[in-house]
């Protein structure tokens, strides 16, 4: 077994507004192999995401494994609507970086 980072396996890791009240996260893989590997590793789940971001699980509105695009996708409710005074990420586009270093167990 060895450990690799999610950023070494995924083609795209991004976050973006989904409407005014939610931010959605996409982890997209180029090959089916890496997609299945990450799916099976259990490293990306509702519980793991909630712990990573320090939020309650009920802030995650959707969690989907989207086979046609080899993608794992989840969506969270914002603390307050986008662009409210004090909101630092009006597009929700810089909330993904903690995912880059998520560790995935891989068989040698």
């Amino acid at each position: 077994m060895k450990v690799v980072k999610l950023s070494d396996l995924a083609k795209t890791i991004r976050s973006k507004n989904a409407g005014t009240d939610k931010i959605t996260f996409d982890i997209i893989f180029r090959e089916k192999g890496n997609y299945e590997l990450v799916k099976k590793s259990g490293a990306i789940s509702k519980g793991k995401i909630a712990r990573l971001y320090g939020i309650e699980e009920n802030r995650i509105s959707d969690f989907v494994e989207f086979d046609p695009a080899y993608a794992i996708k989840y969506t969270i409710y914002r603390e307050k609507p986008s662009g409210s005074p004090g909101d630092a990420d009006i597009f929700g586009s810089q909330q993904y970086p903690p995912l880059l270093d998520v560790e995935i167990q891989v068989n040698d």
Partner: protein, 459 residues
Amino acid sequence: MTSKSLRFICPNGHLGFAPSKRESFDIGAKTKPDFYCCDSGSSDIGPGPLGGDYSASPYEWQKHDLEMMLVAARNQGAPMIIGSAGDTGTRSRVDLYVQTIKDLARKHKMAPFKLAYFYSDVPKEYLKNKFDQGEAIEGLDGRQNLTLEELEQTNRIVAVAGIHPYIKALEMGADVIIGGRSSDIAIFAAPAIKAGFPEGLSYYMGKTLECASFCAEPYGAKESIIGEVTAEDVKVTAMSPYQRCTVASVAGHAMYERSNPYFEYVAGGMIDMTNCHYEQYDEKTCRVTGPVFVPVEGKTKVKLEGSSKVGERFVGIAGVRDPYTIKHIDTVLDWAREQVKERFGEEGYELYYNVYGKNGVMGNMEPLKESNCHELCIVCQGVAQTREMAEEVTMTGTRQIFYARLPEVKGTAGTAAFSFDEVLPASAAYRWTINHTVSVDDPMELFDLHLIDIKEEAS
């Protein structure tokens, strides 16, 4: 269906937000698409433009794209459809685009054509009447139903149009349509559905085309895309020489900016993409089959957007280099907050700090709790009912970072660095108060549609 297929060109995912790229548009226009469509709106820009009724994009960029599309569409004699005029799709933005079309027609000495436009603004009285009739304005995305108090605080409300006003405008013979706030999908789906193509495929095509080249790879924004709908499938083709529409890029786009990749809601129903099948049709084209449209049961629900002014706003910026102060920055900011409280009390203003170098971008969701930075940038926002008070709140909140007293700090002559000793006026602060739906008997009751003749006038 009068023809076997309809082809749509889309040059930009948000007309005006950044100028469209000319080369790929010209390549697409040469193939004579049946419709020129582009959405010009977004809620991504925050609640300010809707609440304050201004565009988020420079007028020159909006005009650039409208001119590019109008000249090509009128030369060819193909209809042109613009949704969500001027970012927000409010009445003033629709009027702005209508005037621009008139100006451009005159500038280019265009042959007469018919221009349709509609307003999406919703008067508060309309919603109050709904309350009086005991109807709920249902919250979306986990929101509670709308309260009368929230409604009264809201400055401006728009309804998000589905296909209905667009189909009506096309039936009236419009050559160019300028829409108020709309679903970006509807501007593509409406002509296809009107022509008799299956609703599932028509809506799906809109879903794929609405962000233009975001459904192609490699990444490249503001490049044209052409979508073709038939009775059996949708084909999407990248026009830019360096881009392709692939299974990965098109399937990947189905989930972009949406909380769920399988379902998309529009006025009148839901697009179910669970059984979509994607295949590479040719080098630059992806073919999609299988989307299904599920009509709403009962009344049509139309989405509403509303924004409320929170107050006037100023911004202050402070830098910190002292390592002890950086380590205790939360204590420093609590101290500054206390100074504001001493002056203004607990209520009647809002004060925010974004601490760059610590958790300025992610706030409470930042997993790295300790900063390793040797310097911090602190952005302070003060919001209050008057500009004078907002300025003073922000000035106090920023300058007191300089005066914060920590027991062991060595630098007793000031704990912050300022590149200018002032606070800066910012746009007023707004918040989204309405992300709800209203049930209607007739979707057209929310949209005020007009048709005018554009004739060459002596200037």
